[in-house]
Amino acid sequence: MLTILAFILPTLVGYAVVRTIDRERQLRGLEITAISFATGSGCLALYMFVIGIIGVGYSFLTLAPFFIGGGVLLVRAIKTNKGEKDPPTRRVNPGGKQNERTGLLRVATYILTLLIIWKVFFVLFNTLSYPTYFDDALSTWDFKAKVIYTLAGLGSKGTAGFLGGSMLHYPPGTALFKAWLGLFTGMWSDRVAHLYPFTLYVAMLALFFSSLRRHVSGLLSLLFCYMLASVPLLTLHASSGYVDFIVGFYLLCSCLMLARWFQTGSDVFLYLTAILAAILAFTKNEGMVLFIPVIVVTFLIFLRFARISKEDKTKKAAILGICLVLFTAPWLAVKIIYGLGFGGIGLEFHPEALSAMLRMFFFDEGSFNVLWAAAIMLLIVNRKHLTNKIFLSYFTPAVLSLLAITAVFVFTSGSQWVELKTTAGRTFLTAVPLLLFSLGTLTGLALNHGEGKTHGVTDLTIILKKIKGKKEY
C-alpha cells in the first residue's frame, strides 16, 4: 500500500503542475496521467536535489513542503477549472465508411492487446524476481540511490556519501526518486526501486498510444504501441537498474510536447517541453550533452518555419530558454562549483564504427527486432508524405537524436563500445520510442491519404493559423 502511495503522491503533484500550466485542458486521459507521473517524479527529484545540496536531510518535515505546494496548486487548478466544459477530443476518423469494426480488425485488436499484456507481465515478472544484478546498476545507479536512502541526504563534499558516493558526475535524478521510494516505504528494496522504471514503461506505452491516437486510428496506434512494447532490448531495460530506457522515455515526452507546440501554437507545451527536457538532463549526462541540443535545434527549426512575427519568435525562444535554464541550473551549478564535468572522451575519427553499427542493426543482434529495416522500408514506401508537417514535427528530433548518437561513436573514442557490443545498443535504444512514434504518424498519413480527409490536424492552413495565435484561430 505504501509503495502504491509512493507513486501516487508525486503523480498528483505532477498533475497539479500540469493543470496549472494547462488551464485549457488540452491534455487529458492517459496522456495527462503519463505526463503527470513523468513531471511529478522528476520535479520531486529536483526538489530533493536542491534541498539536499544545501545540506538539508530528507524527512517528513523537509519533504512535506513539496507535497503541500502540490496540494495547493491542485486545489487552485480544480477551483479554476470547475464548471468549464472539456474541449472536444480531437481524434482521427479514418474515413466515414470504415467505422464498422470488421471481425478481422477485432481479432487483430485482441491479439495485439494480449501481446502487450504479455510484455508488461514479463517486465513486471523480471522486476519482482531479479534484484539489482549487473555492473552499472550495482556500482552506480542503484548504489547511488541506496547511499542517498541510507544517509537520508546528499552528504557533504569530501564525505564518502556525497551525491550518492559513486560516479559523482552522473546526475542523481533517478537515484533520488528511488531513494524517495525507500524513504517513504521505510526500507530499501531493489524490487520496489525497480518498480520505477516499470511504471515509466507502462506510462510510456500509455502516452505513446494516446498521443498517436490523435493522428491515426485506434488499431494503428495499438499496433505501433505493441511494436514499442516488444522491442527486445527495451523490455529488458524496463526491469533493470539502468537509466537508458528512462532517458528514452523523457526524450519521447519532451519531443511530443514540443511537437504539440508546433502543431497548436500553445505555449503550454513549451513550458512542459522545458520541464521534461530538464528532467531528461538530470537523468543521464547524455541528456545534457546530446539531447538538450537536439531539442533546442528542433525548436529553432520549428521556429524558423513558424509564421509568426519576430517579436513572437523571440518570446517563444525566451520561454523555452529561460525555463530550461531555470530547471537545469541547480545541477549545472553543482557541476561547475564542484568541477564534476561530463566524463569527456577524446575526439577521433572511426569510420569503421559505421560498419559495426550496420552489423549490429541488420545482422547479428536481435536487440531491436527488424526495426531498422522496417523504418527504412516505411520511409521509402511512404515518401510522398515525408514533407508532411505533422510527421516532420516528430521525425526531426528522432533523426537528430540518431545522428547525434552516431556521431558519438564515429567521431570519438567511444567507437570501441560499438566494436565490443556494449554501450552502443542501449544508447540507440534512447531514440527508439520517438522513431517509432514518427513512423506511426507517417504510416497513418499514408493509410488515410487514399480514404478521404481526416479531421483537420494535417491541414497546413489550420496549423499555420494556430501558430500565428489563438485569437485568429
Binding site: L115, W118, F122, F125, S129, Y130, P131, T132, Y133, F134, D135, D136, A137, L138, S139, D142, F143, K146, V147, T150, L223, M227, S230, P232, L233, T235, L236, H237, S239, S240, Y242, R359, M360, F362, F363, D364, E365, G366, S367, N369, V370, A373, A374, M377, L378, I380, V381, N382, E419, L420, K421, T422, T423, G425, R426, T443, A446, L447, G450, E451
Partner: protein
C-alpha cells in the same frame, strides 16, 4: 574404472586424492589402450574416455556409474575434453545431461587451429526440471565480433562449464560429429533455432538472435522484408496506370497497407520466437524459487542473493566492515559492496581494523572453518575465533577474536 566418491574432508586433500587417482588411471589405461581411438568424441560415456578428461577445481568429485558420468560440482564445475577433429566436418554437438541446479546454465568453449585462447560462446540455459534432456548445438553458428566463424579448422579441445554450486551433474552422452544425412542436418539446424537463449539482466547491452541453419534469424527476416517490399514495388510499377493512380482501391494505393502487413508479419515472427525465450526464462526463474530450500537461484549468481540476506541478518547491527572470501574469479565483490552497504566489504588481504573482524565466506574453496575455532585458507590458519552463522557447508560467517599470531585485534 570407478573413481572415489566425494568425502567430507578439507577440499585440498580431496583434490589431491583425485589428481593422484586420475593420473594413475591415465597412465595405466593409456598403457593398456594405446591403440584406442580417444581423439574422436562420440556417443556413450565410457571409463576409457573419462581418464583423458580434465576436471577443474570446481569439481568436487567425478565417477563413472551405469554408463554415465556423475559429477559433483563445487563452484562452476568444468570439464575439458581433448579432441582431434576436423571442425568443418564435425559440428553437431550432442549432449545428454541431467542437473540438480534449479536455474542451470551451460557454457561451451573450445580451442581450434592451435590457438591458445579459448573463445566465448553463447551460454545455453538447460532445463530446470532435473530430468534427462538431449541438447544438440550446431557449433558453426557461433561467430566472433567481426562475424568470423569460430568453429573451424582443427579442434583440439572443448570445455563445458556448468554454472552453479554443489550441483550433481550427470552426463550419459557427449559427441561431436558430422550430421548423419540431409535429415539430420536439417534437424540440427532447426534444433539450434529452438534452443532458447538465456535472458537475464546480463543481456543489458544487446539481446541475442537465434540462429537457423547458421544464419542469424534477424538477418533472414530483414532480407525477407526487403525482398517482399521490392516485389511489391515491382508489381506496382508493372501495374501502374493513370486510372490506377486515381483509384483508391488500386494496388498502388494499397501499397502502404500491404507493406505494413509484411512488416507486421516479419516483426511478429521474430517476436513470437523471442516470446519463447521470455517464457522459458520465466519458467526457469519461477522454478528456481519453488526449488529446494526456497532459495532463489539466478543462473551464474546461484543463490548469492539469499546468502547476502543471510549475512545482513546475521552480522550484528553496527558492524562497520567484514572480509569477504569469494569463489576465485567470481565478480561478487561489487555485488557484496552494494548488497551490504553501509557495511563495507573488504578483500581478505585488507589491513586489519581494530575492532572485531568478521570473515564472510561464500563458496570459497579452501576457506574452511572445521570445529576447533580455526579458520583455514588451504592449509594455513588465518584466524582464531568462532563460527557465528552457517549458510551451507561452504558458506558461513566467522568472527575472528585473534590473529594467527595469537594477537588480539
Amino acid at each position: 574404472m570407478r573413481l572415489p566418491p566425494n568425502l567430507n574432508i578439507p577440499l585440498r586433500s580431496i583434490l589431491l586424492k583425485h589428481a593422484i587417482t586420475l593420473m594413475a588411471a591415465f597412465v595405466f589405461l593409456a598403457a593398456l589402450s594405446a591403440g584406442a581411438n580417444a581423439t574422436q568424441l562420440s556417443g556413450e560415456i565410457n571409463p576409457q574416455r573419462l581418464t583423458l578428461w580434465k576436471y577443474s577445481k570446481g569439481v568436487s568429485s567425478a565417477r563413472f556409474q551405469d554408463g554415465r558420468l556423475i559429477m559433483k560440482g563445487l563452484w562452476d564445475p568444468e570439464i575439458s575434453v581433448p579432441l582431434s577433429l576436423d571442425a568443418d566436418t564435425n559440428y553437431i554437438l550432442s549432449l545428454t545431461v541431467k542437473t540438480t541446479n534449479a536455474s542451470p546454465l551451460l557454457r561451451i568453449r573450445w580451442k581450434t587451429d592451435g590457438r591458445t585462447r579459448f573463445f566465448r560462446t553463447m551460454e545455453v540455459p538447460l532445463s530446470p526440471d532435473t530430468q534427462w534432456h538431449t541438447y544438440k548445438f550446431d557449433l558453426r553458428s557461433i561467430q566472433d565480433l567481426s562475424g568470423k566463424r569460430l568453429w573451424s579448422g582443427h579442434a583440439s579441445k572443448i570445455t563445458l562449464t556448468f554454472f552453479g554450486f554443489s550441483d550433481t551433474i550427470e552426463i550419459s552422452e557427449l559427441s561431436i560429429a558430422a550430421p548423419g544425412g540431409f535429415t539430420d542436418a536439417v534437424s540440427s539446424g532447426w534444433q539450434s533455432f529452438l534452443t532458447p537463449s538465456a535472458i537475464t539482466p546480463l543481456s543489458i547491452n544487446h539481446t541475442p538472435t537465434p540462429y537457423i541453419f547458421q544464419l542469424p534469424f534477424v538477418f533472414l527476416l530483414n532480407c525477407l522484408l526487403v525482398l517482399c517490399v521490392l516485389i511489391i514495388s515491382i508489381c506496382c510499377f508493372i501495374r501502374r496506370s493513370p486510372e490506377g493512380r486515381r483509384n483508391k482501391f488500386s494496388f498502388s494505393a494499397r501499397r502502404p497497407a500491404i507493406v505494413l502487413a509484411v512488416i507486421i508479419i516479419v516483426w511478429l515472427a521474430f517476436d513470437l520466437r523471442h516470446i519463447y525465450d521470455q517464457a522459458y526464462s520465466v519458467r526457469t526463474i519461477k522454478s528456481a524459487f519453488t526449488a529446494k530450500a526456497e532459495r532463489g537461484k539466478f543462473y551464474n549468481l546461484n543463490d548469492f542473493y539469499g546468502f547476502s540476506d543471510f549475512v545482513k541478518q546475521t552480522l550484528p547491527k553496527g558492524t562497520k566492515s567484514f572480509k569477504f572470501h569469494q569463489p576465485p574469479g567470481s565478480p561478487l565483490s561489487l555485488q557484496m559492496k552494494y548488497r551490504l552497504y553501509p557495511t563495507r566489504s573488504l578483500s581478505p588481504d585488507s589491513p586489519v581494523p581494530k575492532k572485531a573482524i568478521y570473515h564472510v565466506v561464500y563458496k570459497s574453496p579452501g576457506v574452511m572453518a572445521p570445529p576447533g575455532g580455526l579458520l583455514y585458507r588451504g592449509r594455513k590458519i588465518i584466524a582464531h575465533g568462532t563460527l557465528v552463522g552457517k549458510y551451507d557447508d561452504y558458506s558461513f560467517i566467522f568472527k575472528e577474536t585473534q590473529t594467527e599470531q595469537g594477537q588480539k585485534p
